[in-house]
């Protein structure tokens, strides 16, 4: 059952990677990056997932032995935040690029080279 | 303390060598004339020439080095002579070896060139250039011939080479050294400044080359030097390849034999240009020299 999560996560990562590698538009590449991060997060969560257990919120009937591993979830939260920050940063930079270059085509954003 | 016998020997040999050197020069001219079916000058003609030059009432100089050059050349020739064993007179020869003598025989050239260059004459400069290039060209086969000799006899000492030849037969009887002798003889032609390698003076081309500015006593010095040099070089040849000599007469015969070979070669060949000479020397004599050297290793 867990392999399904893994499969999904890796698919997301590969889709993201595909977008980065093939799409010429910077925005699309950034979307790819986001998708990839999502995939990674999914993977991270699924690492801590134990089949048949519930969320690691200590409440009635859910003790340490009934909950999934909480650490990956904490990690993923952090990672999501980081991902958001990165994306925000990237998008604002993309704006500047569009301002200065008048395009978002990566083939044309090549002033720094060699 | 002073070895008076040695002093007397030195003086005697010097006088003898100078005289015989002049006679050799005379023989050279005379023989050449006879080959050309002329009467030719008397055999003592070079002595007369030298006396005449010495008797010039005027003398010019281009500066100190111009004067120093001929003096140095003659001094060096005398020094070289003193290190060659002349027949039974050993002189200084036990104190120096083949390499030293070979070098001493080259120094006079430097003297002549110093003087010639300081005269500022373009012909002299051309002569110097040609002289040096001839030397560069001939030095390789020359060196190889000497190396073959040294390797065969296993010693650098001229006196020992002579002694070994006395007991074991002349150098030229050894096949490898015969090859070396051929090489040396070709080089010898250039050392004496005879055709086909008389590129240095080339009278009809560059007006005597290095000698062009010399006259009077300077030229007389150079003539005397040439005589001594001629004697020394022929003696060198005889000592190296013809078994030396036990008395002056034997030596004289061998020297004249050597001289005649040189004259015969000289009288039938035209002159090389300098680059032809260089190419020639680096071709056949060098190959022969290498063969000789490898045969004696």
């Amino acid at each position: 059952m867990i392999s399904a999560y893994y499969f999904g996560a890796i698919s997301l990562i590969l889709i993201g990677l595909y977008a980065i590698l093939v799409k010429k538009n910077v925005l699309k590449m950034l979307i790819g990056l986001s998708i990839m991060e999502t995939g990674v997060n999914l993977l991270l969560v699924s690492v801590g997932y134990i089949s048949g257990r519930s969320a690691p919120i200590l409440s009635e009937g859910i003790g340490p032995n009934q909950a999934v591993d909480p650490i990956p979830q904490a990690l993923v939260l952090t990672a999501i935040v980081i991902g958001v920050a990165t994306t925000a940063m990237a998008l604002s930079v993309a704006m500047i690029i569009y301002e200065k270059y008048g395009t978002l085509n990566v083939e044309e954003i090549r002033r720094l080279r060699g | 303390m002073i070895d008076w016998k040695l002093v007397l020997e030195v003086i005697g040999i010097l006088i003898y060598a100078t005289f015989m050197g002049f006679i050799f020069m005379g023989i050279e001219r005379k023989a050449m004339a006879r080959i050309q079916r002329r009467v030719g000058p008397p055999i003592y003609q070079p002595i007369i020439d030298t006396l005449k030059l010495l008797g010039k009432k005027e003398s010019v100089s281009h500066g100190f080095i111009y004067d120093f050059g001929p003096v140095f050349a003659m001094g060096a020739s005398i020094a070289a002579l003193l290190f060659i064993p002349i027949a039974n007179f050993q002189l200084f020869s036990s104190n120096a070896d083949l390499i030293v003598v070979a070098y001493l025989l080259e120094i006079p050239m430097l003297g002549i060139m110093l003087g010639a260059m300081s005269s500022g004459n373009p012909y002299s400069a051309l002569g110097v250039q040609r002289g040096l290039l001839t030397m560069v060209a001939m030095q390789l086969p020359y060196g190889l011939a000497l190396i073959a000799l040294i390797q065969h006899w296993g010693t650098f000492k001229l006196s020992e080479i002579v002694a070994l030849q006395q007991t074991q037969g002349w150098s030229i009887l050894v096949p490898a050294l015969f090859v070396a002798m051929i090489v040396f003889d070709i080089v010898f032609q250039a050392m004496l400044g005879l055709e086909p390698f008389d590129i240095v003076s080339a009278p009809a081309e560059i007006s005597m080359g290095p000698m062009v500015e010399y006259g009077g006593k300077h030229a007389a010095l150079l003539f005397t030097q040439h005589a001594i040099q001629l004697f020394a070089e022929t003696a060198f040849f005889a000592v190296l390849f013809l078994g030396g000599a036990s008395n002056l007469l034997e030596l004289l015969i061998k020297q004249i034999a050597v001289l005649f070979i040189a004259i015969f070669v000289a009288s039938i060949y035209p002159r090389f240009t300098i680059d032809q000479a260089a190419k020639f020397f680096w071709k056949w004599p060098t190959i022969l020299g290498i063969i000789a050297v490898l045969l004696t290793v």
């Binding site: - | 001219r29 004339a33 050309q36 079916r37 002329r38 009467v39 030719g40 000058p41 008397p42 003609q45 007369i48 020439d49 006396l51 005449k52 030059l53 010495l54 008797g55 010039k56 009432k57 005027e58 003398s59 010019v60 373009p122 009278p203 009809a204 007006s207 005597m208 000698m211 062009v212 500015e213 010399y214 006259g215 009077g216 030229a219």
Partner: protein, 201 residues
């Protein structure tokens, strides 16, 4: 101008220079001078062609110790073999002054004596003796090899009895020769004629 002066002084050196006197060996040297005449062969005009027979087997002047030598400093005998133009004369004078005393001049044929067949040519020196001292002149147009030989023998005879004194006359009467030369070529002709002649150096 200073250069010209320098040149003048330098030529004066040829004259003012004190000659060596050999007291003891003088007879020996005189003999040697006679027996060893080196020719500065300066072949002007048509006489040059008379020289090869002299040098080769038929006459062979080398048996008298005579030898052609291209370098003037060593030469003793200056052969002027035929007519002399002013241009040639300049070279003759310069070469002559370069030779070292004692030195002798042998003039070939009629032309150096009086112009010969070129007696009325505007460009031939009529009387060479005015410009440089001639010791022996051989008449004829051209003199045959025997005659040249005879001239040389004459020089040798004159050397022996000391009458071949052209070099002395040139020193003593330098002002005269100089005047004649300058009249013919104009003052300062040496500098004027100097050219860059070895362009390739």
């Amino acid at each position: 101008m200073s250069e010209m002066k320098e040149m003048r002084n330098e030529n004066d050196g040829v004259i003012s220079y004190e000659l060596q006197e050999f007291k003891l060996f003088e007879p020996l040297f005189k003999w040697a001078r006679k027996k060893s005449l080196w020719i500065v062969a300066f072949c002007t005009g048509c006489g040059g062609i008379e020289m090869p027979p002299l040098a080769t087997a038929r006459y062979d002047f080398e048996r008298f110790g005579i030898m052609p030598n291209p370098a003037p400093r060593m030469g003793d005998l200056f052969l002027i073999t035929g007519y002399v133009t002013p241009k040639t004369l300049k070279r003759i004078i310069i070469t002559y002054e370069m030779m070292q005393d004692p030195k002798y001049i042998l003039a070939h044929g009629s032309c150096p004596i009086n112009g010969g067949v070129y007696w009325d040519s505007y460009n031939v020196v009529k009387q060479l003796d005015k410009y440089i001292p001639i010791d022996v002149a051989i008449a004829g147009c051209m003199p045959r090899a025997e005659a040249v030989m005879d001239g040389i023998m004459e020089i040798m005879r004159k050397i022996e009895d000391g009458t071949a004194d052209g070099w002395k006359r040139y020193r003593e009467n330098y002002e005269y020769y100089r005047k004649n030369q300058d009249e013919l070529f104009g003052e300062g002709w040496r500098e004027k004629d100097a050219r860059r002649w070895l362009a390739w150096i």
